[in-house]
Symmetry: C2
Subunit: 565 residues, 2 copies
């Protein structure tokens, strides 16, 4: 790093002196402490700003989603432009797809609310908390720095005392050395003087005696005096050296204590709570986002449930229920005998037998042929439907595949050129082809079935008449005519209102008035249950569908459940 | 519903006639089929539009997040305005908080990418698929309607044939009745004529014989002729009645077949694949959103890991490592004997004993007192730190609480007025108070420890000297002086470069050149491990921290691991 590099440079040109190097280290330590603190404050401020701007993005997103949900909710709208459609809006259970749509909009609104809440937390408490931590770090670093400065001052004070002690020791030692030199000088002169007096002892012992004696005495006193002086200085020197040595030990201990403990402790002091607080802010952030996402996952769950509840037979039953007047079969066409005609059945006179018997046989054989053909067509029809549904279902695999493989960087590209889209186009072609074939077969089947129904009815009537002809042809009497007429007249005239009473009416009255032994709705429901009840796993039909149909039956017999619910 | 209402009205005014009512029903059935189809197409188009607009919102969100991540990544930036800071950017492992920051930005970028991908799926395949389904529904409804129309035409044809058959029967029956009347008339006249001829048989038998005979013969021929005519008409009538009755059976069968089967089958045909396809689109939607969210949850997991990896001791060790030159303790201050002074230790002369012994005792007692005091302060210090960290940690509970309770509708309110914020303010006050007290105690502790270190050093020196004084005071010889001097001179002059070789240098050379038996970093690391290794569950220190420190030790002994990694 630059810092390290500049340090090395400075180290390169710095004088080797220990105290000087230490001073440099101490000031760099302060700088380093300040730098760490500054970096942290900047990081925290940057994080706070990030949170605020992230909150803005989230709020914008929330508003976009809200506007979207609002737009489509209010123009229940386009779908409900006529009052007729609004009734579907008001009764979403009427059509299960509309329920999905309502749940989707609800999910979107919930997403909007969650994003708004997230935005609020980021811009509010989290950004504020980060600012607080930045303040805390600034304060702590300032205080730690001041404390470090104080400890450094104390350390340098001790070092300075060491210099003083060293100088004192040096001065006293110098004096001690000088005193010793002077003592040695005096001792040397004393020795010299004593040595000169020995060879002159016999020649001038008497004439120089008193002088020499006083000189010797004087020399001895000087040595004594210098000896005392030396001892005094030596003691002073020892004391100064002791102080110097003690100061040395003290300084080394102080330096060691400062470098090994104080510096690290002050770094810890700067750190106090920083990682803890930062970690908690970031955890709050993840918690807030996770909560948002958990809620969204829940919303998606509701949507999936609504999709599971898509209910074709139920929807159809609702349509039949709402539009009962339209779908209820009309009264049977009755036989209206012409004025005075008392015959109300097919008569096979002798003269007609030659004509009717072959005709009955002809109908019989057409019936047999038509039955086989219609059954064949029905088989093809069912297989085609299966194939069609498979194509429809397979089409969606594409959507997911393209999602899985689409690289997000290539967004907004034209979707008509890629291979997936070409494949989808091929599938759509296949779907339409299958659909056309299905409808052709359906047409054939419905026509066939209609012909079959008519042939069947004629066939039954003819067989009835032929059998009756064999047995009773000549037993016919007025009485029987009258009886039959009476039986017929027992049916009262049908009421034109019975349709309105289909749901909620009296069953017996209905049957009496309509002449239908089993009402259409009931017959239709039972047909459905029979058809699908045999194999509940048949395509598209679930136990749920059967429930829906059974529900319609229930409504039919207990309409008040529907009206009060 | 209005539709139902209007139907009832129409029903009220409609003539009771069956065929007329049926015609009305049939046209309403067609309308109903068209209406169902129209509602479905509109729903699908609305859903497609929703997907496109939802995609726009998502894309905007994605761009917002991308811009945000870009802004803060590029101004690595504000934090890295100097080259010094950029080194931190480039080496995020250097400071664990910067790693968190980098992961947060990475997470934001990932969110942006996911939203873009979601947007693409919604606007592209999903919207397109919905349009396709709308097309399919339109086509199917049109075809079903045409087919229904055809079946209705056939049905009405049969009904019309019935009317014709009925009219034919009525006409023939009329003729038959007329023929019978004429026969009866002829028979009556024949009878009358026969009755008149009986009373006149005796009176005018001869004169009116031939005339009466021819009249009787003529009357019998007329009866015969009329009888034949009647039988002919009666047979025609029977045939016509038979046709009428057969047509009646056929019509009733056809009507029943149409109402009970065809109508429902055609509704099914309109529905073909609709619920299936719609369900698959909505499932694709939830799958796409779920995928987005799963990726975000994963991103949050990474962020949580980064937060878990916040590592105060590791960060400190990195700082020490990078700034080794600044934090390495300086060389010991050595004893510099004054020119010629051969004493290098504290000397306790007889004359100094009276001074030094009490002084040593004084230091001893000050040491004892200081030790106790410093330990006391240290205990308070640790308790205060604990309290401080608890306050810091408790502050964040607030953030989450406010998130939990904040009603999203009251967003953007001033945060300075609510009780939560007031409580947070109180906590901040408490935190700063605790912090101030903590720093006061830290200052006391550090000062005390410094004094302790210095006293300890002096105490040891004095004790050493006193013991030595007792034992060797008078055994000191020149030889010992020289030996001691030799031992000292065995330490070579320290190299000024050893700091640069702290990491990656030769251990033995370092120890020799620095005079430090154990390098600072090693000592510091071991101190940490000893301190925290005893109780790994002590506040803030985890096994992970110990690992970090151990890692620094490893780096110290094997620096190439760091440089090559």
């Amino acid at each position: 790093s630059q810092l390290l590099g500049s340090l090395r440079q400075e180290n390169g040109v710095s004088p080797g002196g220990g105290a000087c190097k230490m001073r440099w280290q101490l000031s760099e330590q302060l700088r380093c402490l300040e730098l760490q603190g500054e970096l942290r404050r900047e990081l925290l401020q940057e994080l706070a700003e990030f949170m605020r701007r992230r909150a803005e993005v989230e709020l914008e997103y929330s508003r976009g989603l809200e506007k979207l949900a609002e737009r489509f909710s209010s123009r229940g709208g386009r779908l409900g432009s006529s009052r007729e459609h609004q009734s579907f809006r008001k009764e979403p259970s009427l059509l299960s797809p509309l329920h999905c749509w309502a749940v989707l909009l609800q999910h979107t609104r919930q997403q909007s609310r969650e994003s708004a809440a997230l935005s609020e937390v980021l811009a509010g408490p989290l950004a504020q908390r980060l600012s607080h931590i930045a303040e805390d770090v600034g304060r702590l670093v300032k205080k730690s720095r001041d404390l470090e400065q104080q400890l450094q001052d104390e350390l340098l004070e001790v070092v300075s005392e060491l210099q003083t002690a060293k100088k004192t020791y040096q001065a006293y030692h110098m004096e001690s050395v000088n005193a010793e030199a002077k003592l040695r000088e005096a001792e040397r002169q004393e020795e010299k003087r004593a040595g000169r007096s020995v060879p002159t002892t016999t020649a001038a012992a008497t004439e120089a005696g008193p002088l020499r004696k006083s000189s010797l005495k004087k020399g001895g006193r000087l040595v004594e005096k210098r000896q005392a002086k030396f001892m005094e200085h030596k003691l002073k020197c020892t004391k100064a050296r002791n102080e110097y040595l003690l100061s040395l030990a003290s300084v080394n201990a102080a330096v060691s204590n400062y470098y090994l403990h104080d510096v690290l402790d002050l770094m810890d002091c700067c750190d106090t709570g920083f990682h803890l607080a930062l970690g908690q802010v970031l955890r709050s952030y993840t918690a807030a986002e996770s909560r948002t996402q958990a809620s969204q996952v829940q919303g998606l769950g509701s949507l999936e449930e609504a999709v599971e509840a898509l209910d074709p037979p139920g929807d159809k039953a609702k349509v039949l229920e709402v539009h009962a007047t339209i779908f209820c079969p009309p009264l049977r066409f009755d036989y209206h005998p012409h004025d005075g005609d008392e015959v109300a059945e097919i008569r096979v006179e002798m003269e007609l037998q030659d004509e009717i018997v072959p005709r009955a046989q002809n109908i019989q054989s057409r019936l047999d042929r038509q039955t086989i053909e219609t059954e064949e067509v029905n088989k093809t029809l069912k297989a085609t439907l299966q194939a069609l549904l498979e194509v429809v279902a397979s089409d969606d695999g594409d959507v997911l595949d393209s999602f899985q493989t689409s690289p997000s960087t290539e967004s907004l590209k034209s979707t008509s050129s890629d291979p997936g889209s070409r494949q989808a186009g091929r599938r759509r072609g296949q779907q339409q082809e299958t659909e056309t074939f299905y409808l052709t077969k359906l047409q054939e089947y419905l026509s066939g079935r209609s012909i079959l129904a008519k042939l069947q009815a004629k066939h039954e009537k003819l067989q009835e008449a032929l059998q009756r002809g064999d047995k009773e042809e000549r037993e016919m009497s007025w009485t029987q005519y009258t009886q039959r007429k009476f039986q017929k007249s027992r049916h009262p005239r049908p009421s034109s209102q019975y349709n309105q009473r289909l749901f909620g009416g009296d069953m017996e009255k209905f049957i009496q008035s309509s002449g239908q032994p089993v009402p259409l709705v009931v017959e239709s429901c039972i047909r459905f249950i029979n058809l699908n009840g045999e194999d509940p796993l048949v395509e598209g039909c679930t136990a749920h569908d059967l429930d829906s149909v059974a529900g319609v039956l229930k409504l039919y017999f207990h309409p008040q459940v529907y009206h009060t619910a």
